[in-house]
């Protein structure tokens, strides 16, 4: 297919109309930080490109009822600097701040981060740990699904050609909750993360870990929740022993999962995750106070 038509959309309606009419021939472009390279390499060959980066209806961070909602075309820089997200969930802002370089953060969007479905997407582990919901729109209407369920495989999301990701939303922080994020990269700037990890915790009475959710990046074919580790920790009293034991469990889970991966990954990640996990959990716990 050859690129025949390019459309700079200004309204959501315009975007949905184009997708409805062109279906599979059309592709959405936001920041372009993943897509432009893929277009040039011939990995994707749309006939029509629809630019959503200046659709104001898709660029927002706001409170709606019990939720905080972030529009799909919101840039990393805006997440990093947002006053709406709140201190306990600062981990999400740190995740956005860890992306690439200033240039990439000025262009790249959270919707692109999700829909590109790279295993190493930095904001996705944080959103998974926040139990975020994906809000999807088409001309036919709106539907929602847990963000976790949007992934089919590396590079593939469950969106119909007529649909776009409209926003992600998660419950506002409650007292006793916190989110920690840690990224282990090769270079300070521009290292597509080798591991990124987000931990959400809720502190109960007597220092009990009432709830925990862990989102990981670059540890699977796409960002995932680490339920085995969550189940091990949940309900236990927070202390050094639990942290150490949980880190061991995490290491073992990865040893199994990565057994067939190249040596660098299979040997390095199960070891490295322990330190990363402890740091992320400690950060999250600090923020519950």
């Amino acid at each position: 297919m050859e690129l025949k038509e390019v459309i700079k959309a200004r309204t959501l309606e315009e975007v949905l109309d184009v997708l409805d009419e062109k279906g599979e021939k059309a592709k959405v472009i936001a920041g372009g930080t993943d897509l432009v390279i893929q277009l040039r390499e011939g990995k994707v060959n749309p006939e029509v490109l629809v630019d959503i980066s200046d659709v104001a209806e898709l660029c927002f961070i706001k409170e709606t009822g019990d939720f905080i909602e972030i529009g799909a075309a919101t840039r990393f820089v805006n997440i990093k600097e947002s006053p709406v997200i709140g201190k306990p969930f600062k981990g999400l802002q740190e995740a956005a701040g860890h992306v690439g370089s200033p240039q990439i953060r000025n262009l790249g969007t959270v919707g692109g981060n999700i829909c590109n479905a790279s295993p190493a997407a930095d904001t996705v582990p944080a959103l998974l740990a926040l139990d975020a919901v994906a809000v999807i729109k088409s001309k036919q209407g709106t539907r929602e699904m847990p963000l976790e369920d949007i992934y089919i495989d590396r590079g593939k999301v469950k969106l119909e050609p007529q649909e776009i990701l409209y926003a992600v939303k998660f419950l506002k922080p409650q007292p006793g909750q916190g989110l920690g994020f840690v990224k282990l990269g090769l270079r300070k700037a521009l290292a597509i993360s080798t591991i990124s990890l987000a931990v959400f915790v809720e502190r109960g009475e007597n220092e009990v870990i009432k709830n925990i959710r862990i989102g990981s990046g670059a540890l699977s074919r796409f960002p995932v929740r680490e339920r085995e580790v969550e189940d091990f920790v949940k309900g236990k009293k927070m202390d050094n022993t639990v942290i150490e034991e949980a880190a061991e469990v995490f290491g073992q889970v990865l040893e199994k999962r990565l057994a067939t991966r190249p040596p660098v990954e299979k040997d390095f990640k199960p070891y490295a995750i322990k330190g990363v996990f402890k740091e992320a959990l400690n950060k999250a716990w600090q923020r519950t106070k």
Binding site: V6, D51, I104
Partner: protein
């Protein structure tokens, strides 16, 4: 072909762009702003950086048609009409922050984007501000000191 209009260095352009053209190609090849350099073509080196609506961006990752209605600043837009250099350019020269010069236009723009927002940056903030711009020659130390010096010049009301 698609007709778009955009402002570059304060001047309005109406141009026809090919569908698959990047902003980088438009600026360099069609409009002649050759201070915009093409290095890696994948967002890593920063040599193609320009300021778009006040923000530093890599023009190799933007499609030309996406720039409809945008205000862009390239290195060509920095010096005054009489040829006087911008204080940031002056500081780069004085500090010896330029060797082969390939990274320099984008580096100066990165400094501008930073100083426009944060007139008194720390060394750490300067390093962060230029972290998306690679330089093969200088080892960065002189670039950082130039940005500091440029900040002083600008805070004194321009040199």
């Amino acid at each position: 072909m698609k007709k778009i209009s955009l402002t570059v260095n304060g001047k309005l352009y109406q141009v026809e762009v090919e569908e698959d053209m990047r902003l980088l190609d438009l600026l360099r090849d069609k409009l002649g702003f050759t201070g915009v350099k093409e290095g890696c073509s994948e967002g890593e080196c920063g040599a193609c950086s320009v300021i778009m609506d006040g923000k530093l961006v890599t023009s190799c990752l933007i499609m030309a048609f996406q720039a409809e209605g945008k205000e862009i600043i390239t290195i060509e837009g920095l010096q005054k009409e009489d040829g006087t250099l911008h204080p940031i350019q002056q500081a780069f020269l004085e500090e010896g922050a330029v060797q082969c010069g390939f990274c320099t236009p984008a580096m100066v723009l990165a400094a501008k984007a930073l100083l426009d927002k944060n007139p008194h940056p720390t060394d750490e903030e300067i390093k962060e501000g230029i972290s998306g711009n690679l330089c093969r020659c200088t080892g960065y130390a002189k670039i950082v000191s130039s940005v500091k010096k440029a900040a002083e010049y600008l805070n004194k009301g321009g040199k």
